[in-house]
């Protein structure tokens, strides 16, 4: 894997590399950030040192997804890309820590969807293009953005149901719900909540009390 010797790249170059699938720069970013992140994880969560590589890898995947889904762009990033990755890594480490049940009372709450690194102007200017669904390009972009803001639990359940077509029994087992009905209720709650936020943004109203 040829690495340029002693070359540093800007965040814009890295972002471009992720979008263009420039493996050389992606690998370079992975390698340089891995050392920093794993050291930080081990420093803060010593008992997770065996999982530091996996935690970093998961954080890298989440960052990559955020870039590919345009949640992160050069104009919306308000902190260095490495810093953003570092934040994700610590969040993933906290999830691992909670999962492993290590002294839960000592651990901070997981702040799902930290928005600190992304500026409010995430959506481009409204487009005049109408699509068949009645939604403009702007509306669709907004929908995509709010999906990325879903909590991890909601995203998992919705992905399992709509993308992987898993049954409710399977989802209940995988996500540790009491039974299939509980999983279904949770799925509906996630979808309803998402619709409420999107409708509020699109139409300026909360439709939560809509009765038919």
């Amino acid at each position: 894997m040829p690495f340029p010797f002693r070359k540093t790249y800007t965040d814009a170059e890295y972002l471009d590399a992720f979008l263009q699938c420039n493996n050389m720069l992606i690998d370079h970013f992975y390698l340089t950030q891995k050392k920093i992140c794993t050291a930080s994880i081990i420093r803060q969560y010593r008992y997770l040192s065996d999982y530091a590589d996996d935690i970093f890898h998961e954080a890298f995947i989440r960052l990559h997804v955020n870039i590919r889904t345009c949640k992160i762009t050069a104009s919306t990033l308000t902190s260095p890309l490495g810093g953003y990755l570092h934040g994700i890594a610590l969040k993933v480490a906290l999830e691992y820590a909670h999962k492993s049940g290590y002294a839960a009372e000592q651990l901070p709450e997981i702040n799902d969807n930290p928005q600190w690194a992304i500026s409010p102007q995430t959506i481009s200017n409204p487009s005049a293009t109408e699509v068949d669904t009645g939604f403009t390009d702007h509306d669709i972009e907004l929908i995509r953005f709010y999906i990325t803001c879903l909590s991890n639990q909601c995203r998992k359940i919705l992905n399992l149901f709509y993308f992987e077509h898993s049954s409710m029994d399977t989802i209940a087992t995988m996500l540790n719900y009491k039974n299939a009905d509980t999983a279904k209720t949770q799925k509906n709650k996630c979808m309803t909540k998402l619709k409420i936020f999107i409708k509020h943004r699109l139409y300026g109203t909360f439709d939560a009390d809509r009765k038919n």
């Binding site: 894997m1 690495f3 699938c21 493996n23 992606i26 690998d27 992975y30 390698l31 891995k34 890898h57 890298f60 995947i61 990559h64 997804v65 590919r68 889904t69 669904t133 009645g134 939604f135 509306d139 669709i140 929908i143 995509r144 999906i147 990325t148 919705l158 992905n159 709509y162 993308f163 992987e164 279904k184 209720t185 509906n188 709650k189 979808m191 309803t192 998402l194 619709k195 409420i196 999107i198 409708k199 699109l202 439709d207 939560a208 809509r210 009765k211 038919n212």
Partner: protein, 227 residues
């Protein structure tokens, strides 16, 4: 209708899980109710975007695994190269230390060795020159004169050239053999005075091996250097 129930109903409709009669009734309801129609369209769009993002995430996971493997290979390679580099540098350092530890005392010993006596050679060849000896005699005489003036470098060069000119000499030619031995001995003396450890040892070994007039002196000097 309660929001959660509505979401579930729209899901059933969009995923084709609604019985035909119910589906037709629902579609008629949508035609009459613009808000319901909008709700269905929104849920459809959300599901589409969810699936798109899930597909992206699936692809990213595969790509990330490939990145992990490539970086892992690179780290192993770097580690191997790093270890190799360190071991080479360490070996060189150890060899250098041993060499220095071995050579410096011997160089110091060279300084301590008093100038070997070559006066007999000097006298013999000087007299032969006066009596009209050949070139080699005057060469050796000139060299010893330079050595008397501590010009060992120049003397060495002259002696070395003369030795080379003589070429291989055997014991059968006694005079030439003795002359060659003298030449080598004088070169060894010059090397000692110039603190040339390896050269002086090599020359003294040659003189000792010739088992001539200077054998004992050469062996004694060798012992002084190497002890």
């Amino acid at each position: 209708m309660e929001p959660l129930m509505l979401t579930e109903k729209i899901d059933n409709y969009l995923l084709g899980k609604m019985p035909d009669a119910e589906r037709q009734a629902f579609e008629q309801e949508m035609e009459a109710d613009a808000a319901l129609k909008r709700e269905v369209a929104l849920q459809r769009e959300i599901i589409s975007a969810l699936c798109e993002q899930a597909s992206i995430e699936q692809q990213v996971r595969q790509d990330a695994e490939a990145v992990r493997q490539r970086v892992g290979q690179h780290e192993k390679h770097i580690s191997k190269t790093h270890r190799l580099t360190i071991s080479i540098i360490s070996s060189i350092a150890v060899a250098a230390c041993l060499t220095v530890a071995f050579i410096i005392p011997q160089l110091n010993r060279l300084q301590d060795i008093p100038t070997p006596d070559y006066s007999s050679i000097h006298d013999m060849y000087s007299q032969s020159t006066i009596r009209g000896g050949d070139n080699i005699f005057s060469t050796i005489s000139e060299a010893t004169a330079l050595m008397d003036n501590s010009r060992y470098g120049e003397a060495y060069n002259i002696l070395s050239a003369a030795t080379e000119q003589m070429g291989n000499v055997t014991r059968d030619n006694k005079q030439q053999y003795e002359i060659k031995e003298d030449l080598l001995y004088l070169q060894a003396v010059c090397a000692i005075k110039r603190h040339q450890l390896f050269r002086s040892k090599r020359l003294l070994r040659q003189v000792a091996d010739m088992k001539g007039n200077h054998q004992q002196e050469a062996e004694q000097l060798l012992r002084q250097i190497t002890d």
